[in-house]
């Protein structure tokens, strides 16, 4: 298979310099884009059917098309890269950030050009220090060679890119909370409408895209939407960075065609379960997706197929649960994380998640009571989209609700007894 996003990445090595990147064909797409109108670039991305790689799978072209364009738009417009990769199990954006910063920068410039943004931010999670260092270095090369800055590459387009190393909070990965944080406020989400493409950073039109999404842009522009769609096994365009963690023989991240079935990832790339461990279930796209059982392992990993089996593709970085791990314990770990990361803005999330976490702790500690399952069911039922302010708590309920469904007996075995796995 043709590697697209990761072809320049040298594992354990330094990323390509500007010269090396250009030698490998870098910044050609940018030159090509600058010869097109912003609307034409937008159209290419729409036709490529690139779905947002941050986890929600929203069509990137449609997001861009909702940005007010031309003279009547409020300026400055902003383009923001969401690099707050904090989903449990996710490490794909880190690979792109550290491995090929120029690819991201080129993607940002083209994207900003397509929506006529004049300022761009890369919002990094606190721990991505190495990525920040490499980005800053790559940016200075790009500025020095006029790939960035005023009238870049001799065109009429100007752009500045700023690297923002955040204070570090799961909530910052939520696009609107990210914008609040970038403005120097608490990372509390904003309600929609208005959408950020109309009223975003500092009240101006703003596009927030995920790192992997943006890295796809130069390739779409360079090779065209048909080529991009042809990379995929399904009708969702492109390749996808998939990850596997848990007790498999070879955990890692791979770039594969979009729609690669789960089992191929597990068996061909992660080399199956470690000896002595059996497969029990997996969370396909990070902590806030629902468990997938053995029976669904042949499902193609794309947004639509995952949704069809009641879960989400999310980040595409799966966490495998083996048969020697207590499902209650695993869910407890996740819910503890989500409870801690709640921003505290809305009641169901702020008060509900800690209650869930404490209940699971009690179950794990052998202090479970029959009514505890009722409490967990209650939260799985009520912490839904629309009931809460943002998607954090509904996401947190996905592993819990599916665990309650698939592993009911295991939950019940915790009541009035110590954890059978301990």
């Amino acid at each position: 298979m043709e590697l697209v996003l990761t072809k320049n990445i040298r594992p354990e090595g330094e990323p390509l310099t500007l010269a090396e990147y250009e030698q490998a064909g870098g910044y050609e797409a940018l030159r090509r884009a600058l010869g097109m109108s912003p609307q034409e670039v937008q159209r290419m991305v729409t036709e490529a059917n690139l779905l947002g790689r941050g986890g929600a799978g929203f069509p990137t072209g449609r997001k861009w098309a909702s940005v007010p364009m031309g003279e009547r738009a409020r300026t400055p417009k902003y383009f923001v890269v969401n690099a707050d990769e904090m989903e449990p199990g996710a490490m794909k954006d880190r690979l792109l950030l550290e491995g090929d910063p120029h690819q991201l920068i080129e993607g940002i410039i083209i994207s900003a050009y397509a929506v006529e943004a004049s300022q761009a931010y890369i919002f990094l999670r606190w721990e991505y220090r190495l990525a920040a260092r490499r980005l800053v270095s790559a940016l200075s090369q790009a500025y020095h060679h006029n790939r960035l800055g005023r009238r870049l590459l001799g065109s009429s387009f100007s752009l500045d890119i700023h690297v923002h190393l955040s204070g570090g909070r799961y909530m910052c990965g939520e696009a609107e909370a990210l914008l609040s944080a970038l403005e120097g406020r608490r990372a509390v989400p904003r309600s929609k409408p208005p959408y950020p493409t109309v009223c975003g950073l500092w009240g101006k039109p703003t596009v927030v895209n995920n790192v992997e999404t943006v890295c796809n842009i130069p390739h779409i522009v360079k090779h065209g939407p048909e080529w991009f769609r042809s990379l995929s096994l399904t009708d969702e365009g492109g390749t996808k960075l998939y990850g596997v963690s848990g007790r498999v023989k070879r955990p890692g991240v791979w770039e594969l065609p979009m729609g690669t079935p789960i089992r191929r990832l597990l068996d061909d790339h992660a080399d199956g379960m470690q000896d002595g461990y059996g497969f029990r279930a997996l969370l396909p796209g990070g902590g806030s997706t629902a468990f997938v059982l053995e029976e669904h392992l042949d499902t193609p990993m794309d947004f639509a197929s995952m949704e069809a089996i009641g879960t989400r593709l999310g980040t595409g970085t799966m966490i495998v649960m083996d048969d020697r791990t207590c499902p209650v314990g695993m869910v407890r770990g996740l819910e503890g994380f989500f409870a801690r990361e709640s921003c505290g803005w809305c009641t169901p999330c702020r008060e509900g998640l800690p209650w869930v976490a404490r209940t699971l702790e009690a179950l794990e500690a052998g202090d479970g009571r029959p009514e505890d399952l009722e409490t967990l069911d209650h939260h799985a039922r009520w912490l839904r989209m629309g009931h809460t302010f943002c998607a954090l708590a509904p996401g947190a309920m996905m592993p819990l609700a599916s665990a309650l469904k698939h592993f009911r007996a295991e939950f019940e075995s915790h009541i009035g007894a110590r954890c059978p796995w301990s």
Binding site: R190, S191, C199, G203, P348, E351, F389
Partner: protein
């Protein structure tokens, strides 16, 4: 008018663009809520107001939405009673109660707690959460508010109010998840002078009134009445509460035209002077030993008779006394001998303001009008310190134009955070021209720091830019010229331009210049308004009634024409130069003083009569807008305390040998006042007459839950004491009476079944945040006679600094500058020490440092004061905090000398 369907029934909603919560509450439905507030709109945080929304008639499943975040649209179908919505709302309350301490029996909020009400409303009764509650450390937030964080339900109202409504920066939310904390970054006094509103904004007992806590009583045991604040000229509407003869707290009384939902902390916490040890409760007579001694009524009357028959008296009224008291004194001495008891300067300023507002062209702006202005020029006024609540209106005014940004983005205006995010810093225009920095500078488009005369010249220049027929000040500098042009453009382009001026600078020129701007705008067809601050709660009423200046009073005493001086509720040493006060007090043969508190003037009297405070008698005040408002007596005071006008009525009867007082009750006095002062005729109709009854009943001051009536006096007499009768209003001093909603002027508390907290106000309004049912109480007494009146003031020379003198301009402080509130312990602790404000330029020239003591030499009287650096003060100008202890009675601005101790003045200069 859109129709909405609630649980299958159609209802007409008054306005489009509202949210469903607002609309449903306006229709009288009960939907529980926390983060939404009628003055702060929707946040979407608490998720309590969930209802079911249906796509159309065929949709039976529907989806849960937050009523506060969902717009009213034509034909929208919702259900409040839907079982799923009911269950979700109960679940939200259950979550909120997870960490709540359930300490209602020991909580000051108990009995008027929105959280209690909403919990009862949703029906959450069984606790399922079996884990430990989180606990917090409470903070010391100063003498006004008590902090109890464990009770917090994290609705975010406090920080939204504090930061967005008041502009405060030292209250914030800290931490994450269920550990979030609302407080300061460290213990300390909350800086905003509006912090006290948190006691009402907080839906539970996190922020409670600390002064109330010190003499706590259950809120339902308070006797309350509709009153008017006496601590500045705005006349905010309040609800004082009394129990056992002690005034225990003040709460806000909603009035859409005046204070809306909020009060300033001077108004809320300044009340304790009523309970002061310095209160005069019995008549005092000067004995042969030269000392004042308590005296009986008969003895007092005898002495008064002797004084009054000895010869002619002149009267000194007071801008802090009611219309009734001032009028009674005027009736007693005759209009020719009635003086307003203020300095020549203040008399002159009030004459100017009265003329402008009565004759035109300026129409006086209400507090509400100020909030709706879309371009504002402030001339010479430190608004937050001279008329505190007006500052909140200006904070609303600066977003009036910016709201258009949100509207163009199709953002619903109730969506508070989205509106703010869309607007960001694009607020204004607001121009502030003052001698020194002001707490509103953070929202100013531009500020201008000059001496009063230069501020006036800026005003003239603005007027001249708008209307070239207006006089043009000569010799303008470039900065002023450019600024004036910009201000003129902004005012001209606005729909509702406003000019704010007032007493703050002590400068008639500034008021005249403000008038020029309004005059120019009006002449060219703009609907401009003028907000003039006035020094005290009845300055405007006194000016409308007309009173003579202090010079003529001194003359009358000096010439021997007046032998007796009758002073009503006025400490002369606070309002005029000590030399003038001295001339009056030592010149008169007999001095009779009526007042609440022992003060320097009362000390000099021969007869002192104990006068009722605002809480102890009914009276009328006219605010800076010219709005007459009745303040109804809250409780019957102990001792011989009586309304001053009653004492004065007695004195008239005594002097004239009448069998009865000329006015038995308030309505008689008001009838006489209406005849004698036609401009005030409407004050008769502010409140229904005392004979008014609703279904044959009076309006009760006590709640139906008022407890212990029979027990209160049981230690004295087990028989129940008959409640006192109120001859001055249709209200009773009991819990019996009409239980429904009375006319708005007689609302003693906001309460409705199931709504025990201040949130019940919604049930009294015509639509959420709308006017009270039947119209807000109070009436405008004045309208400009001629809005096209040409009254351009002419030449004002530029300010010229002097080589060896400084122009001392007054500075004001919310806490300390006003007489009565300063006698309140909580306010006294917040009053800054007197100081002298000096520009860095002058400080450097004089080689003095911050904190160093300087002598302020005002007409050879030297006040030693520590120096405070005022970075924005222009050279040649110093600020003096007028009214602070030691600095009362100065007539500012005036030229002063500065003395550095240890240096001769000459040495200082060279």
């Amino acid at each position: 008018m859109p129709t909405i369907y609630v649980d299958g029934k159609p209802y007409e909603v008054a306005e489009e663009g509202k949210n469903l919560l607002d609309a449903c509450l306006s229709l009288g439905f009960d939907i529980p809520y926390f983060c939404w507030h009628p003055a702060m709109h929707s946040a979407g945080a608490c998720r309590q107001c969930a209802v079911k929304l249906f796509r159309d008639e065929a949709d039976t499943r529907g989806q849960i939405v937050m009523a506060c975040m969902t717009p009213v649209t034509e034909g929208v179908r919702i259900s409040i009673a839907d079982p799923e919505a009911v269950a979700f709302r109960a679940s939200v309350i259950e979550w909120l109660m997870v960490n709540h301490p359930h300490d209602c029996p020991v909580c000051d909020e108990g009995g008027e707690c929105h959280l209690q009400d909403m919990t009862v409303m949703t029906g959450h009764v069984r606790r399922r959460h079996r884990f430990r509650k989180r606990t917090h450390r409470n903070q010391h937030l100063g003498p006004l508010l008590h902090h109890e964080m464990n009770r917090c339900i994290q609705c975010f109202r406090c920080v939204r109010f504090y930061q967005e409504v008041t502009g405060g920066r030292d209250l914030d939310v800290f931490g994450w998840h269920d550990g979030i904390y609302f407080g300061r970054h460290e213990d300390g006094v909350l800086e905003s002078p509006f912090a006290g509103n948190l006691a009402e904004v907080c839906p539970t007992g996190v922020f409670t009134d600390k002064t109330f806590k010190r003499h706590y009583t259950r809120p339902w045991d308070l006797q309350t009445a509709p009153a008017v604040c006496v601590h500045c000229g705005l006349g905010c509407n309040t609800i004082p509460g009394e129990r056992y003869g002690l005034l225990r707290r003040i709460r806000n009384r909603f009035n859409a035209h005046v204070n809306g939902f909020f009060l300033c902390d001077r108004g809320r916490f300044g009340y304790e002077f009523v309970n002061s040890d310095r209160r005069l409760r019995e008549p005092l007579l000067r004995g042969e030993d030269g000392e004042l001694h308590p005296a009986g009524l008969a003895e007092t009357m005898e002495r008064l008779r002797a004084i009054l028959q000895a010869g002619e008296a002149i009267g000194i009224g007071s801008p802090r006394a009611s219309m009734e008291t001032n009028f009674a004194l005027r009736e007693f001495v005759g209009a020719e001998s009635f003086h307003d008891g203020t300095s020549r300067l203040d008399h002159d300023l009030m004459e100017t303001i009265r003329t402008v507002l009565l004759k035109g062209p300026g129409r006086s702006a209400s507090v509400q009008d100020v909030a709706e202005a879309d371009a504002v020029l402030v001339l010479g006024e430190d608004v937050q310190n001279t008329a505190p609540l007006l500052a909140l209106s200006l904070r609303k005014a600066v977003v009036q134009q910016a709201i258009g940004i949100a509207q163009r983005l199709n953002i619903h205006l109730y969506h508070d955070s989205a509106v703010r995010e869309a607007i960001q810093q694009d607020t204004g225009p607001l121009f502030i021209a003052t001698p020194d920095e002001t707490p509103l500078d953070d929202i100013a488009t531009l500020t201008y720091r000059r001496a009063p005369d230069d501020i006036a010249r800026l005003g003239l220049a603005v007027a001249n830019f708008i209307d070239p027929a207006a006089p043009r000040p000569d010799g303008l500098d470039g900065e002023t010229e450019g600024l004036a042009g910009r201000i003129a453009d902004e005012l001209w382009n606005a729909e509702r331009p406003l000019v704010v001026c007032g007493y703050g600078c002590g400068s008639r020129s500034v008021i005249e210049a403000a008038t020029n701007v309004v005059c120019a705008l009006e002449r060219l067809g703009k609907d401009a308004s003028l907000a003039c601050t006035v020094p005290e709660c009845n300055s405007m009423g006194l000016a409308l009634m007309g009173a003579r200046d202090p010079g003529s009073a001194i003359e009358a005493v000096r010439s021997g024409r007046a032998r007796a001086l009758v002073i009503a509720e006025n400490d002369l040493f606070r309002r005029m130069r000590a030399s003038d006060a001295e001339a009056l007090l030592s010149g008169a043969e007999h001095v009779v003083v009526l007042d609440h508190l022992a003060n320097r003037t009362a000390e000099r009297a021969e007869v002192v009569l104990p006068a009722a405070t605002f809480a102890e008698c009914t009276g009328t005040f006219v605010n800076s807008e010219g709005r007459g408002q009745r303040s109804i007596q809250t409780f019957v005071p102990e001792g011989s305390v009586q309304a001053s006008w009653r004492w004065l009525g007695r004195m008239i009867a005594l002097r004239d040998g009448l069998a009865e007082r000329p006015w038995g009750a308030l309505d008689d006095l008001l009838a006489a006042l209406a005849r004698a002062v036609p401009v005030c005729a409407r004050i008769r109709d502010l409140v229904p007459p005392s004979s008014y009854r609703l279904h044959g009943q009076r309006v009760p001051r006590q709640s139906p839950r008022y407890s212990g009536r029979a027990a209160v006096h049981a230690h004295e007499d087990v028989r129940e004491v008959a409640p006192p009768l109120d001859p001055d209003s249709p209200m009773s001093f009991t819990m019996e009476g009409y239980g429904g909603q009375p006319p708005s002027a007689l609302i003693a508390r906001f309460w409705a079944p199931g709504w025990n907290s201040p949130q019940a106000v919604t049930k009294f309004e015509r639509g959420v945040a709308g006017p009270l049912q039947g119209g807000d109480p109070g009436r405008r007494l004045i309208e400009p006679e001629d809005r096209n009146r040409l009254c351009y003031a002419g030449h004002i020379p530029p300010f010229e600094p002097r080589p060896d003198e400084w122009l001392a301009v007054p500075a004001y402080h919310v806490f300390g500058s006003e007489e009565l509130s300063a006698a309140t312990p909580a306010v006294a602790t917040l009053t800054p020490a007197a100081y002298l404000g000096l520009s860095p330029h002058d400080a450097e020239r004089m080689q003095v440092e911050e904190g160093q003591e300087l002598g302020l030499d005002v007409e050879h009287e030297v006040h030693p004061l520590p120096m405070r650096l005022r970075p924005q003060l222009p050279p040649g100008v110093v600020t003096v905090p007028l009214g602070l202890p030691g600095l009362e009675g100065l007539e500012l601005p005036t030229w002063v000398k500065l003395v550095v101790p240890g240096l001769s003045e000459r040495a200082l200069r060279t």
